[in-house]
């Protein structure tokens, strides 16, 4: 599973350069298309951003439908393509999809755990026109533990990293950090160096989906963060340009929210395995958003005309303090999903913002993480860590108020 939601710099990110394009808030094209080809995944990320009820989504789109989505989106002007999942290598039609996307002129990014990658598939993907590969850590408690103790996972990653480099791709590694692994940043970077990574993204968990369920386990303390940043800085000084390291601080520690997706409905379009089209990969959780499906409408109608994609365009939906805030054109009020998860109302300011009347919800979560020292915080001890897996997903749907659907006002 790709770890980081596509925001800010990095994975699947409509980053500043992309976001800069539609100037007037007149609706521009969906420049960035993310296809979550499958929710199937051999791994079980605790921070996976797939919806927690993923086991209840409909059947995966067949090849022909994905190809139609590619054509329609490209015709509208989509140019960056992310292929993720789940684990996209699980799809046997990945190569033909890449071939089609390349012929259409997409710049194609594959986001993979490497599980399922072989010399033959790498060669086929290269021949098909794949532009870029990001090797991600999937389950940072299990998989990363393995990796750190130099067992199977380290060998798998190293083998895939070597294939990536042999085929002329830059070696980009993405590792999601949180309370349980952040103290190992030094070891992680050493292993990254050993496997020849040229770019390493250390992305702190963002709290949606499975990560939201596990938030009390995953939020690091400020001291942990600062130590990790210090270690990262020393690596940067030693390695210079040879290995570029990005460190993404969790937004709970900030006082301004991230400019989510450059505004929902502005540049980013994600399609889930069952064909659900979303203005952000997590948008399924938002109440009352009647998300269109690519089986029923074409991409043009979905992007320009559907109520779901228009819901958060412009500023009319905003409430105070965003509505009259001079900074609203910069951060668009932050993350709608975070506003909803924490405050119960997706039109509120993202409570990460210290101008939000709900900011205390964020500082309280940070304070709990602070108090707890290095042991799991009290709230977490009462509630076990939930691994993303099919069986758990079903349990979550039937029994848990924090599922992708109802806001859990725990904070």
């Amino acid at each position: 599973m790709s770890a980081t939601p596509p925001v800010g710099h990095g994975l699947g990110a409509p980053n500043a350069a992309v976001g800069a394009t539609p100037a007037s808030r007149g609706v521009g094209p969906p420049l960035w298309l993310l296809l979550e080809l499958t929710y199937r995944c051999p791994l079980h990320c605790v921070y996976c951003y797939n919806p927690t009820n993923f086991a209840h989504t409909g059947p995966e789109l067949p090849t022909a439908d994905w190809i139609r989505v590619l054509r329609e989106a490209r015709a509208l002007g989509a140019v960056q393509l992310g292929l993720s999942g789940g684990e996209p290598l699980v799809r046997e039609d990945l190569e033909p999809l890449v071939t089609e996307a390349h012929a259409l002129g997409f710049y194609i990014n594959l986001i993979t755990s490497g599980v399922g990658m072989s010399e033959a598939r790498m060669r086929a993907l290269k021949a098909a026109g794949l532009d870029h590969i990001q090797l991600s850590f999937q389950d940072s408690t299990r998989e990363l533990n393995d990796f750190l103790s130099s067992t199977r996972t380290f060998e798998l990653k190293s083998r895939v990293a070597a294939l990536i480099r042999q085929h002329g791709y830059p070696m980009v590694l993405n590792v999601v950090l949180h309370r349980l692994n952040i103290d190992h940043v030094g070891e992680i970077l050493e292993l990254a160096e050993a496997m020849g990574a040229e770019y390493v993204e250390l992305a702190n968990t963002q709290y949606y989906g499975w990560a939201w369920l596990n938030r009390e386990h995953l939020l690091p303390s400020r001291a942990q963060l600062e130590r990790a940043e210090g270690v990262t800085q020393r690596f940067r000084e030693r390695l210079g340009n040879r290995m570029q390291i990005y460190f993404v601080v969790p937004d709970y520690f900030e006082t301004r929210p991230k400019a989510c997706m450059s505004g929902l409905g502005s540049v980013f379009l994600a399609v889930a395995p069952d064909g659900t089209a979303m203005p952000c990969h997590a948008a399924r959780m938002l109440p009352g958003l009647d998300l269109p499906n690519v089986r029923d409408s074409d991409i043009r109608t979905i992007w320009y005309d559907s109520p779901a994609f228009n819901r958060f365009r412009g500023e009319a939906w905003m409430k105070e303090p965003c509505r009259s805030c001079p900074e609203r054109g910069r951060d668009f009020g932050g993350c709608r999903c975070q506003a909803y998860l924490l405050t119960g109302d997706p039109d509120n300011a993202d409570p990460v913002c210290d101008l939000s009347p709900h900011h205390a919800l964020v500082t309280a979560a940070v304070a709990r993480a602070e108090q707890a020292g290095s042991a799991a915080p009290a709230a977490a001890r009462e509630r076990p860590l939930v691994f993303r897996d099919h069986r758990v997903s079903i349990a979550v749907i039937t029994g848990d108020p924090a599922r992708g659907g109802a806001p859990a006002r725990r904070a």
Binding site: L11, A13, G77, Y107, N109, D131, H132
Partner: protein, 92 residues
């Protein structure tokens, strides 16, 4: 950074792709997870950076194409910026 000799041969940097996007009516540079939309003159310069032509040849071509003179300074300044941003690299 404008000590770029006229004999240098700039090329699109490894891993990046330049293409014309009809929907944006612009040249865009594509790179992992991002893109830069180039304005008209940047597009005109960079689309000539093929690793074969020298900076001097690019200047001459642009001056001929647009019926202008004295473009050398602008071209070199843009190439310097693009090298700095790693959009371009120099070929021997």
């Amino acid at each position: 950074m404008s000590d770029i000799p006229g004999s240098a041969r700039p090329a699109i940097a490894f891993g990046l792709r330049l293409q014309w996007e009809p929907a944006q009516e612009a040249h865009v540079l594509l790179y992992p997870e991002g893109m830069v939309k180039l304005n008209g003159s940047a597009g005109a310069i960079i689309s000539r950076c093929d690793g074969v032509r020298t900076v001097a040849e690019i200047v001459a071509d642009l001056e001929r194409t647009y019926g202008l003179t004295g473009l050398s300074g602008d071209v070199i300044a843009f190439v310097a910026l693009a090298l700095d941003k790693r959009w371009l690299e120099l070929r021997a």
